[in-house]
Amino acid sequence: MAILTRRDFVKAAGAAATLPILGSTAKAADKLKVGFIFLGPIGDYGWTWAHNKGRLAVETALGDKVETLYTENVAEDASAVPAIRDLANAGCKLIFTTSYGYMDQTIQVAGEFPDVKFEHCTGFKRADNVSTYNSKFHEGRAVLGTIAGMMSKSGKLGYLGSYKVPEVVLGVNSFTLAAQKKNPNATVSLVLIDSWYDPPKEAAATETMINLGDDIITTHTDSPGPLQILEQKGLYGFGQGADMSQFAPHAHLTAIEDIWGPYYTERTQAVLDGTWKSTDTWDGFKEGTVHISPYNSAVPADVQKAADEIQQGYKDGKFNIFTGPIYAQDGTLKVKDGEVIADADLAVMDWFVKGVSTAS
């Protein structure tokens, strides 16, 4: 027990010790200052990297009118409160807090600064000066599922996930349903490793799924480790959050990229115009928040065409992977033929579809 306690203590101490660094300084008084709170380092080639690209897009689009500040490596605990407060005290009138775990902290600081606008990513608590925004990552999973369903030889697919949270459940179900549209016998073995980031465990889990017969594996954890294992084994997978092809030039079929720039620019413009209102935004392909990286040359032309059709379907609003009939894991009919699961129900989805094999 002593060791467990020690470990927890050190985790907390380590998180506090990786000093948040204020990324850029602000000078001109008439510029709108926009602040960002980042979960990881901006060089993580994943989640935070994508959000930072969004920040840079704001600077590019609005130029002299704005100035951006950011704090990276902010832990999802009480230490986020002073980090957010610092940005507000530094004069930011718009602050993006870019991870689910900053939800209550954002609400708390927003109460202290009623004239500052806040935008919280992937959460559900709003206030007059707090908006929420999220991305329909699962739309991208439908594209990956289509590719996997067509390219898998064994029909056995692997899904490496973090936790059983709606974002992951939606991803698994979307991937599975899309694969089954191309190969009705396709099954997906799901491994949840209880972490967003643990490269050696991600690698070992990938080896395990390969050994159990999965020949295409998609990851919903943040490191490129699994892709490197797939590269070594000559199998295929997908990047997560960013184009990770440099880590696995052969194995990387494509990736779901998170594009936050247009949203960040639009919201910043709204503050400049004085039209900002508290809203809840959940964008996908149509709005450009979800983007698919260039296909690897290993993806055959007919597969590319099918994948493009899914993307186009979402952009046109004509396709939705969560259209019935949909059966739950135990085979019961959950969604009737032709019915579509509403966004509000998707946001809290906690059951897996038929064909997903999972240990819990």
Binding site: A13, T18, S189, Y197, P200, E207, Q246
Partner: protein
């Protein structure tokens, strides 16, 4: 279930076990000399980035492993300076080393994020190392064989050599060792540096063998498992070897249970197993032998001679 299936499973288990075996073996020697270094995680991270950076710069994995060992030993020597020369608290200083190592490796790694190196793979010809069955013996990085050889060497050193006896004496009764003329501080510096070198190589195993890339905090807590392993092994190198593989099997079982959709225990239980097993073994040791079993008597205590 074919032979190939078990071979692949064993390859995964070896991958999970080797870093904690290396770091644990180093820490075992450190603790045998009477010093508790809780900075294993930090030293592993420093080794991971040093090895990776050296691999990028030189393109030579052997040079990179040496660089990882040297970087680990240097960071351990810094710890040694505080706890041995300045007599600071070992627990606090060790924790500080972990925090320092985490931060320093992130800083040093800034320019290496997103790059990859050639995997430090097997040195045997592909006919053996890629063979579906024989890879179970020949398919590993040289670091894996090095780790196993080191278990034998450390066991021989501690149990059969005069220097090993002195090291153990320093750990069991520093004042006595001092009074008959041995340099307690010198021996402990050497042990601490050795522990750092082994942790550094263990860290390099992550950044050069398992996933040939650098990512912040990529060791993800394995340093703590290595610390638990030393206690689990009762400070015996032989038991550390099979303990490391036993922990590896536990970690692999979790993944196999999940991937095959087999559930009779929650996943958190599997993740806690190495720690749980350590507690169980500790309980058995302390009930069977008096006075905490095989733990070095001076473990964690500063050396304060009368004059």
């Amino acid at each position: 279930m074919s032979v190939e299936f078990f071979v692949a499973a064993i390859v995964t288990i070896v991958g999970l076990s080797t870093p904690i075996l290396l770091a644990g073996l180093g820490e075992l020697v450190v603790e045998k000399s009477g010093v508790l270094n809780l900075g294993v995680e930090g030293m592993m991270l420093i080794g991971a980035i040093a090895g990776f950076a050296a691999s990028v710069v030189t393109g030579n994995p052997w040079v990179a492993v040496v660089a990882a060992a040297v970087a680990g030993a240097l960071s351990a020597s810094l710890f040694g300076f505080f706890v041995l020369t300045l007599n600071s608290n070992q627990v606090a200083t060790g924790l500080a080393l972990t925090i320092f190592g985490t931060g320093l490796s992130s800083l040093l790694g800034l320019n290496y994020t997103g790059r990859i190196v050639m995997q430090f793979g097997s040195v045997f010809p592909p006919a053996l190392s890629k063979h579906p069955i024989w890879q179970v013996l020949f398919g590993y990085s040289p670091i894996v064989y090095f780790a196993i050889i080191m278990v034998g060497l450390v066991s021989w050193f501690l149990g059969r050599t005069r220097s090993g006896l002195i090291l153990r004496a320093v750990g069991e009764n520093d004042l006595s060792a001092h009074s008959i003329g041995y340099s307690v501080i010198g021996v402990r510096y050497a042990a601490v540096a050795f522990g750092g070198a082994m942790a550094g190589i263990g860290g390099a195993y992550f950044s050069m063998v398992i996933t040939p890339m650098w990512a912040e905090r990529m060791t993800a807590g394995r340093g703590w498992i290595a610390l638990a392993l030393v206690v689990f092994a009762g400070w015996r190198p032989g038991r550390l070897l099979w303990g490391a593989y036993f922990f590896g099997i536990l970690m692999a079982l979790e993944l196999y249970a999940k991937a095959s959709g087999f559930s009779f225990l929650p996943s958190q239980f599997w993740a806690a197993m190495p720690y749980l097993m350590t507690v169980v073994v500790l309980a058995i040791i302390s009930s069977r032998e008096s006075g905490g079993g095989n733990a070095p008597a001076c473990l964690g205590k500063p050396f304060l001679p009368a004059n």
